[in-house]
Structure formats: structure tokens, C-alpha cells
Symmetry: C2
Subunit: 411 residues, 2 copies
């Protein structure tokens, strides 16, 4: 039975793209399936005991403050810690540049809320993070895509796309979701230069920046941009909005992330966030601060790196051993994902059906392409699988692909 | 220095109304001021020890689940508890009708996100809850206001406003924020009947429904509406979206509330929420469930009622004793607020300046009027003040008003 509400949905809301993935994830949640489909951190590295101690401390010493309403900007000691922590990665910011958000999904949502008019074109990597598309579809965003290779966005295509006049550029330079690719230093410089030249600002999404397992750390785009806008001020006033999260380094169940913006823009975020959820849980912010402080976060990130590096290596080893000729995959230096490309004309939705029968699962690549495409690609997650699951799962996947890629070559 | 972002704000974003109140609250946060300005629950009734026990239990028994990503709909045991709990207030719903939100502010934001096109008119009580205006201004909402008296919305004015063709009606029937007024049963029935007649759906915001100190509980609008749409189904499929919260009964710092909607509409909320923040903190949901279960919430609500009833009575006693002739105020049967009306032509912003000098504070009423007005009104909060503060504060307020109302009569 329809109610009066069904006739009243806002016009700007695009068709929802979330259902496909949600249905797949439900399918793969069965206990006997080895699922590389999700994007979850491993609960093996959640610092549960530290959380217990922190909850106890926060509640016994500052319980009344932790359970009360708080300011929209976020808990000041946590913002100060974020400022210190990110400055070590070369991002010189003050707490005035930082708002704590309810996950970086909220940072993306607030960006949509504040900046996107229906029909505005957003320049994104192809493929790009699905969550950003979900956030911005609700504001009527359109997309301009820039194809990527192993060094990130292709610069010739980027310049072409910039001439279309996008509202902003969205980029995940480190171990991108979904591809695991990292943008090269040269291209980062060039991205900032071109964005400056065309007067288009940048959103930098960096959830995995601290999870590098090989190679050299590369400066975030926000750092390179600051060079172009150095003006002696103590806070950041450049053209990049930068977001990162505690979801991959502490725990996603807290819903804690942060956004860095020039103060005048940050003020809009604070107003918009006030309208969205008043503030992020004060209790969680205080608990996360207690867990992270005193050097624990740094130590803990090292543990996570070691754990995930081994898992990535096992997945790569499995791929090398079991995936048939004609199949390509990325070799990410960090993050949570591998990206697999089958011969053209392979349909990964069909492959998935077979894979689920063989008790292994992945996420088809197509939903990460905002303008369609990528039917012959899929994403594999290695962070949330045991060593045994990685070995057995890649073996099973190899058998499934053998059949599909083999069939295709015969055809 | 301006960045590229400042030129790119979305057109639909109305002038922000939050700054005024934010500035006032900063002003009144000084320790020697007795502030009746906020809308905070009293930390004296936060069940801190129960939270400690619950955190410990949740982390030691289900820590890995509590710290991991979770479904957007919310923690099923909590949704089941909400369904049981609200059914006792006559709202017969299944968990399929319920999404857990990050405070009811997020429920309001999602309503805006899903339903409001720029220029859509929303029918609201005059005055109405400022947080709803803040949520919906960001989606380009316009407002149609219906004046209120001691029984809530005036029905003659409501019918006139409905003929304008609003997108939906927004109403806080119980101990409204800001006025503390309660809509009479007769008017609730008539509201549902008129809304049905004109085909306009209703948003019912009920944060304080359980905090009644005198008089009889009145059925929420969602219950009355269900009579018009009874169709034998087990879940609710009427024309009212209903939201309530744990902020006033457990603790606001958790950011936990819920929205009740027909399943087909709820699905849209789940999609929209996924784009907004993926899900509400799984840890907080599990902790709140542990605290609330086994009858604690009911017992605790009784404690809160007793505490707040005494404070309300003290504030009313203070008003009776100290406020001068020509000043009127509401006598709320529940909730957190009293509403004061001065003689016309009094400007409560000026009164506030004097009041702050005399070390007492309130929130001027004007920001609660979406179309302007209410300069001679203000809101008083009694829940977050000690007995001594209530007595001394009302005394000080009386002196300030004496001067302003007296001056006016002389003029």
C-alpha cells in the first residue's frame, strides 16, 4: 500500500546505486563462503582491551561531559591530536582547520550538501570510490571521469576533463578504493598545477595513507597545494579539502573521521554538520582520544601494517599461482584492495554467480564506474581474510576464472 | 584570503540561521552566569555507572562486532527494543519500520534530503524547533507557519495553510520546543483528519513524549493516523513519519535516535543514510541496548521525571513570584522548556544584554519564527539547572524584566 510519502521524493535524488552492492554483500555473508567482497578492516587488529580501559577512564573521570551534548566542531584535544598527527605527514594545520565527522562518509556527504547543485559535474577517477557516488547522487551530481593507469589519473585525459568546467576534482591518491593504485609524485604535482590553472578545487580522500607496506611515503596533494598558496598564516588556506579517518587505524564502529579545510570553508562545514547531526558522539571522540594518545596509535598502525602486508602478500602469491593467463591485477603498495581485470567481454556479474557457487566472492567493478563500464573488472579485499582463507579462496577463484577466461578464448 | 571553494557554495543553501544562537550560547557559557539558554538534559541523571558496566560487557563479549562496520538500518536488538517500547505508547510497529539515526537531528536531515526540493513549502508551528529549520534550510525549504496557542496549532489557521499545498506538516505535539505546549487530543484528531483530507503527510517529532510530569498521556499523531490506514498489516503503513530519541532518556552524547516510517519509505531512508554516514556507531547502539534492557530504561525515566518535575515547579514558582505584570509564560506538563511572552514592542535581544549583565541568560524567541517575529518572546530551560540556580536565576530575571516591562509602561 502506498502512503502519501511515496509521491513526494525530491527531484534531485538520482537512482540509488547502493542496492546492487548491498544485495551482493548479503549473498556473500553466508558462513561457508570465503568473501573478498567487503571492505572491512580486520577485527583481529581492533585494540579491544585498550578500548575497555579508555571507556572506563573516560566514564569514571569525565562521564558527565562524555555523555552530554558537545560542540559541532569536535572534541578539542582530539582535533589537536589530529593536527599534530597529520603534521607529521607534512600537512601543517591548526585545530581551526579541522572538524570531526561521523566517518569520512559524512565528510563526503557534507561536501555534497555544501557545494553540489543538481547537474553539477564532479571530476572523478575511473573507477572511483562508490561511497562518494552514493553521497553525491543524493544532491543531483553528474560526473566527468578520467581514466586511470598504474600511476593514477591519466594527465592528458585530466586536462581534457578540466576544460568541461567541473565543480571540483575528487581523488584518492593512496592505494585507491577500488583499484589499490597510488598516484605518482609527478602526477600529484601536475594535478595541483592543472587544478590551479583551471581554477578547480580538489577533494582529497585519504583513508589508507598510513597503511603503506612497501615503497616510499608520498606527500598528499594537500601538502603540494600548500606550496602554491603559502602566505605565512598558521592555518591551511589552500584549495584542497582533505579527509581521513580512524576507521582503518582504530575501529570503524566508532564512526570517527576528520575533514581539513581552510577556516572560512570549515565554518560552512560546521554549520552544515550542525544541521546534519549536531555533532559526532562526544563519548566516542573522548574514548578514541584516550586510546590513541601517548604513542599508542603509532605503535598500533605498525601492527596493522605488518598484519595487512602479510595478507596482501598471500593474496598476490595466490594470484600469481592460480589466476590464468589473460587476467591482470594490481600490486598495491598499501591499503585493503587488489583490482582484477579480465579479458574484455567477460562479465564479472556472471563470474560472480559461478564464484559464489564455488564458495568465493568479490565485488564486481561496474558500480565503481559512474558512467558505466568496467564489466570485466572486480575488486578483492585482503585485509579481512585469514591466511587460510586467502590461500583457499584464491585457489577457488583461479578455478572459476580458468573456466571463464578459458571459455572465452575458445569462443 | 579566499580559496576556490568560497565561490562554489550550492545555490539552494539558505542563509545560515545557526550563528545567532551559537553566539548567544558562547556568551552564556561563562561560569558565573546562570544559564537557562541551552536545551540540555541534566548530567545529574546520566546513568554513568550503568554505562561503565555496559561498555565493559559489550567490549569483552562482543568487542569485535561492536567496533566493526555494521548495517545501515541499525542494531537489530535495539530496533526490536524500540518497537516493543514504542508499542507500549500505542505505536504498533515492527523493526522493519525502524531505522536508528545519529540523533533525531539526523532523522530531520534525512527527511530534508529525501523529500525537500528547493522552494518546497513546509508547514510548521509558529514558533517551531530551530534544529528542524537548520536541517531543512540546507535543502532550500520555504515555510508556511501556523500560529499556536495553549492547545497547539490553531485549526482555523491550519486549514488555511494546508490550502497553500505544503510538502508536509511538521509538528511537535508534546511539550514543544520552544514553547513547552502540548497539542490537545481534539486537535490531534483534527490534524490527522485535515492532513488526510488535503493529502499532506505529517512529520511528528517527539523527543520529550516520555517526560510528562502532570496530566494524562495523549496518543501520538502516528497512532491516530494508523486508525485511518488500518489494513491488517503487521507493520505501520500510514502517512506519519515519527521520530524520537535516547538523548533525553539515556544520554545525548551517544547520538542515538530512531525514525519510524512505512517500509517502502524506510528503504529510502536507509539508502539516504548510507550516503550520509554509512551507519550509526555500532558500539554506541550495543552499549545503549545493554544499558536500556531488562527494565532499566523504564525505571530510569521515572527518575528523570521526578528530577525535572521538581525543577519545572521551582521555575514556575520563581516566575509566579518574580516576573512582573504584563509578562506571560506557559505552564508545560512535561519536557524541558517554558516560553515567556513580554508585552509587544519589547525586544528580547536587548533584554538579554541586560540579563547577561545581571548574570542570567535565556534564548530569544525570534530564531524559532521561520518568517520572522517573536521579538517579545524567549525560551527558558529548567532541566539543566540546580534548585539554587532556579531560585536565584528567576529572581535575577524578575529584576531585569521589572526594569524593561516597567520602562515600557512608562513610555
Amino acid at each position: 500500500m502506498q502512503t502519501l510519502w511515496e509521491h513526494r521524493f525530491a527531484g534531485r535524488v538520482n537512482a540509488m546505486t547502493s542496492s546492487a552492492i548491498r544485495e551482493i554483500l548479503k549473498l556473500t555473508a553466508k558462513p561457508d563462503i570465503i568473501s573478498f567482497a567487503g571492505g572491512l578492516p580486520s577485527p583481529d587488529v581492533f585494540p579491544v582491551e585498550e578500548f575497555q580501559k579508555a571507556c572506563d577512564l573516560v566514564l569514571s573521570e569525565t562521564g558527565k561531559q562524555a555523555l552530554q551534548y558537545a560542540t559541532t566542531e569536535g572534541y578539542l584535544p582530539l582535533r589537536e591530536m589530529v593536527a599534530r598527527h597529520t603534521s607529521r605527514y607534512g600537512i601543517k594545520v591548526s585545530p581551526d582547520n579541522i572538524v570531526i565527522t561521523s566517518g569520512s562518509q559524512q565528510a563526503l556527504d557534507l561536501i555534497g550538501k555544501i557545494f553540489i547543485n543538481p547537474g553539477d559535474r564532479i571530476l572523478v577517477e575511473e573507477p572511483t570510490y562508490l561511497g562518494a557516488l552514493q553521497a553525491w547522487n543524493g544532491y543531483g551530481a553528474q560526473y566527468v571521469t578520467v581514466p586511470t593507469d598504474d600511476d593514477g589519473m591519466r594527465l592528458d585525459e585530466l586536462e581534457k576533463a578540466l576544460r568541461i568546467g567541473p565543480k571540483f576534482i575528487y581523488v584518492l591518491p593512496n592505494f585507491q578504493n577500488p583499484t589499490g593504485r597510488t598516484m605518482s609524485l609527478e602526477r600529484r604535482h601536475k594535478l595541483v598545477e592543472l587544478a590551479d590553472h583551471y581554477g578547480v578545487p580538489i577533494v582529497e580522500d585519504d583513508p589508507y595513507g598510513q597503511l603503506r607496506y612497501d615503497g616510499e611515503h608520498l606527500p598528499p596533494v594537500v601538502v603540494l597545494d600548500a606550496k602554491f598558496h603559502e602566505n605565512g598564516e598558521e592555518h591551511y588556506t589552500g584549495n584542497v579539502l582533505y579527509t581521513s579517518t580512524f576507521s582503518k587505524t582504530l575501529a570503524p564502529g566508532l564512526r570517527l573521521a576528520w575533514l581539513i579545510a581552510p577556516p572560512a570553508v570549515l565554518e560552512r562545514f560546521v554549520h552544515a554538520k550542525q544541521g546534519s547531526d549536531l555533532h559526532t558522539s562526544s563519548f566516542n571522540q573522548m574514548v578514541a582520544y584516550e586510546v590513541a594518545r601517548g604513542g599508542f596509535l603509532d605503535k598500533h598502525i605498525k601492527t596493522i601494517r605488518e598484519t595487512y602486508k602479510t595478507r596482501r602478500d598471500l593474496m598476490l602469491k595466490g594470484a600469481d599461482e592460480h589466476l590464468p593467463a589473460g587476467v591482470e591485477w594490481t600490486r598495491p603498495e598499501g591499503g585493503l584492495f587488489l583490482w582484477v581485470t579480465l579479458p574484455e567481454h567477460c562479465d564479472c556479474k556472471e563470474v560472480l554467480e559461478d564464484a559464489v557457487e564455488q564458495k568465493v566472492a568479490f565485488v564486481p567493478g561496474n558500480p565503481f564506474y559512474p558512467l558505466g563500464g568496467g564489466e570485466n573488472t572486480f575488486r578483492l579485499n585482503f585485509s579481512n581474510a585469514s591466511h587460510e582463507q586467502l590461500e583457499t579462496g584464491m585457489q577457488r577463484l583461479g578455478q572459476v576464472l580458468q573456466k571463464h577466461v578459458g571459455q572465452l578464448e575458445k569462443a
